[in-house]
């Protein structure tokens, strides 16, 4: 059993079952949409309806009462699918109403008739209805940023050339002016309004048996859907423009950094400096080339996709075919593999660690001396701008901020400087060589010590995370003045006042038996007194076993491990009988730091 509706088609009354009605409705709806923008579109629909009525009558005669889906299908097969109706239209471009038709289906094509290279600029100009000179100038200007070339090539690949007359006419849009944009919006809105109206009419036509309320609600939502679709259509265009804009900005700034060199986010490295750096790290150009090549491959695919997607959203070109997508993915993968393997090769060059220590006696005549830092252009480069650069270029040489200085008490009876060179390499030997081939500044005269807080690498050697660490061993009783700027040289210097490095400069520091003490600070005397009292208590535990070297002794419940420094562990008497001791060893570099 089926519900039947009564319809009026081309002046005839038909009984039609519900399924057939829906099918017929869909068919005519599609046609109506298709011809909604063609002048005389309503007439076409009326003609088609009349013809359908004839065909139904021919088919069913007077005997059959109800039109069913089979009838509808048969009639549709005679008339053709909705898209068949357009076949004829596409190839006839003579009439005036073509303009109104094509301005809606405007599509970008390459204008191969007026091309200079690929017809991209000419096609774009035709699309925007402007003189191609402007688009060509634009592309020409963009070529310099590097972006233009990429964009041009992508457009060349992506945008089809205009071959048929229809395509050539489709290519020519209306001028992009504010009033045209307004018109476009209005016409789109009108189309939405029309379809809403149609729905209203349909709802009225509907048989009373059907539930009108639910019908109306669904129509209403369909109308809303149409409006949302319209909003999205515009949103996508805007997003597309945004995509292109972002990529354009990114590439333009990249290009600027590449060729001009630019202060970007406080870091003042230019591309040439970065490439110099890469060359300093890699001892053959192979690695350098591999890195740049791998990187280019890696970013090519995503960049292409972003640009393509932008173009797609703005101009509505075809989606990218699978082959190209796969190809791009493959290229990115290869880029990643190249980068990965080079990174591994590079890391191999940093595998081993080595250091060596040199000691230098300082012939300081005075008991009080100055500590200074070399303040030249390179120093200012590193320290004046608040950036975190650790390397810089000057006069074709690269400099690294990797020199630190500590101050300790001398136990040898004279003032001396110990310098530890640290470096990495593919082997211990290589690492040692890398650690040694560094240039830096130490100037010593009777009352002045001057250090650079940077080093440079001698020619033929490479950057391998080298570090230089000076330790100034001061005689007890001597005083050093830390001049301004030394805060960039000293590192974690232990002192009784417990000052941070930055607070230590511009003060006099005296080496006492207990450590470094500020000579011109108010609380120093107090601190020293406190320390002496503490120390007095300490001596209860210290049994005077400091003369032996590198020995472990157990005496009166204490395990005493002695090397250059002493470590004391309290131990209970009853545990002394137990042979299993858990001995934790605290290693501290300073004799003054004895933990109990």
């Amino acid at each position: 059993m089926k519900k039947t509706l009564t319809i009026n088609l081309g002046g005839f009354i038909f009984h039609i079952d519900e399924d057939a009605f829906n099918q017929l409705e869909r068919y005519l709806g599609t046609l109506r949409n298709q011809f909604s923008r063609t002048s005389g579109g309503d007439e076409i629909i009326a003609d088609v309806e009349t013809r359908m009525a004839e065909l139904f009558r021919e088919r069913n005669g007077e005997t059959k009462e109800v039109v069913n889906t089979l009838d509808v299908e048969a009639v549709i097969s005679v008339l053709g699918k909705p898209e068949d109706y357009l076949q004829e239209e596409d190839y006839n471009s003579s009439s005036t109403d073509y303009d109104s038709y094509q301005s809606y289906s405007k599509k970008i094509h390459r204008d191969v008739d007026n091309r200079m290279i690929g017809g991209v600029a000419a096609g774009l100009a035709a699309y925007m209805n402007i003189n191609p000179v402007w688009t060509r100038l634009l592309f020409f200007a963009l070529f310099f940023s590097g972006f233009g070339l990429l964009l041009y090539i992508i457009l060349w690949i992506v945008v089809p050339s205009a071959r048929t007359t229809a395509e050539k006419l489709q290519m020519r849009g209306k001028p992009v002016t504010l009033s045209n944009i307004e018109n476009f919006v209005r016409e789109e809105a009108h189309a939405v309004g029309n379809s809403v109206k149609h729905m209203g009419r349909k709802a009225q036509d509907m048989n009373r048996n059907s539930n009108q309320v639910t019908g109306l609600i669904s129509q209403f939502f369909n109308g809303i859907f149409e409006i949302i679709k319209l909003i999205f259509k515009f949103a996508f265009k805007i997003i597309g423009f945004f995509f292109l804009f972002v990529v354009f900005i990114a590439l333009a700034s990249l290009a600027t950094t590449l060729f001009v060199g630019f202060n970007l986010n406080d870091s003042h490295y230019t591309w040439s400096e970065i490439s110099d750096m890469l060359q300093l790290v890699s001892n053959d150009s192979g690695i350098y080339n591999a890195i740049t090549f791998g990187f280019s491959l890696l970013v090519l695919g995503p960049l292409f996709l972003i640009v393509y997607y932008g173009i797609r959203l703005v101009f509505g070109v075809e989606p990218l075919n699978r082959g190209v997508r796969k190809g791009l993915g493959f290229l990115s993968l290869i880029g990643l593999i190249i980068l990965g393997s080079t990174a591994y090769q590079l890391s191999e060059k940093f595998r081993a660690n080595s250091y060596h220590i040199s000691e230098q006696k300082l012939n300081l005549k005075a008991q009080s001396y100055n500590l200074e830092v070399v303040q030249d252009d390179i120093y200012y480069d590193f320290n004046e701008s608040f950036n975190t650069d650790f390397w810089t270029f000057s006069n074709g040489k690269s400099y690294y901020k990797g020199v630190k200085l500590d101050i300790r008490q001398s136990e040898k009876g004279y003032t001396y400087l110990e310098t530890e060179f640290n470096g990495r390499g593919s082997s211990r030997q290589d690492a040692r060589k890398n650690a040694q081939n560094l240039d830096f500044i130490i100037e010593v005269d009777s009352a002045n010590l001057k250090f650079s807080n940077y080093y440079s690498i001698r020619e033929g050697n490479f950057f391998r995370l080298q570090k230089i660490r000076h330790v100034l061993y001061m005689q007890p009783g001597d005083t050093v003045y830390l001049s301004a700027g030394t805060e960039n040289l000293i590192y974690d210097v232990k002192n009784i006042n417990d000052f941070w490095d930055y607070d230590m400069t511009s003060h006099y520091w005296t080496m006492t038996e207990k450590g470094l003490l500020c000579a011109d600070c108010e609380n120093s005397a107090e601190l020293l007194k406190e320390l002496e009292e503490d120390n007095f208590k300490d001596e209860d535990f210290d049994q005077g076993e400091t003369e032996a070297n590198s020995q472990v002794k157990i005496k009166d419940g204490l395990i005493i491990i002695e090397e250059a420094e002493a470590f004391l562990f309290p131990l209970k008497q009853n545990e002394a009988a137990n042979t299993n001791y858990n001995i934790a060893v605290l290693i501290t570099p300073f004799a003054s730091d004895v933990f109990i």
Partner: protein, 112 residues
Amino acid sequence: MNLENAKAQMRKGVLELCILNMLNHRDAYASEIIGELKKAELIVVEGTLYPLLTRLKNSGILAYRWEESSAGPPRKYYTLTEIGKAALTELLKSWENLKEAVNQSIQNEIKH
């Protein structure tokens, strides 16, 4: 090459000519025109014809009048206007030329 498509293109080119020629002899309504064209195998589906007729009417080549019918509602009878007659002459001339040229070209190729 899509053979069906090529054939369709050829048919399309002469479709207008045939319609105008037919209406030059007598006025007809849509179903009659379709019947004739189908007989001549010039159209496959009827749908293609309606947009064409509307366009020809819009450009002033065709006009129509409503005529009562014995079998139902009034029918739309298409007729050729003066512009249409001129257009037909033009089209026939170019058809003759085209026929000539195509035959000539085919003949030449056969001789070679």
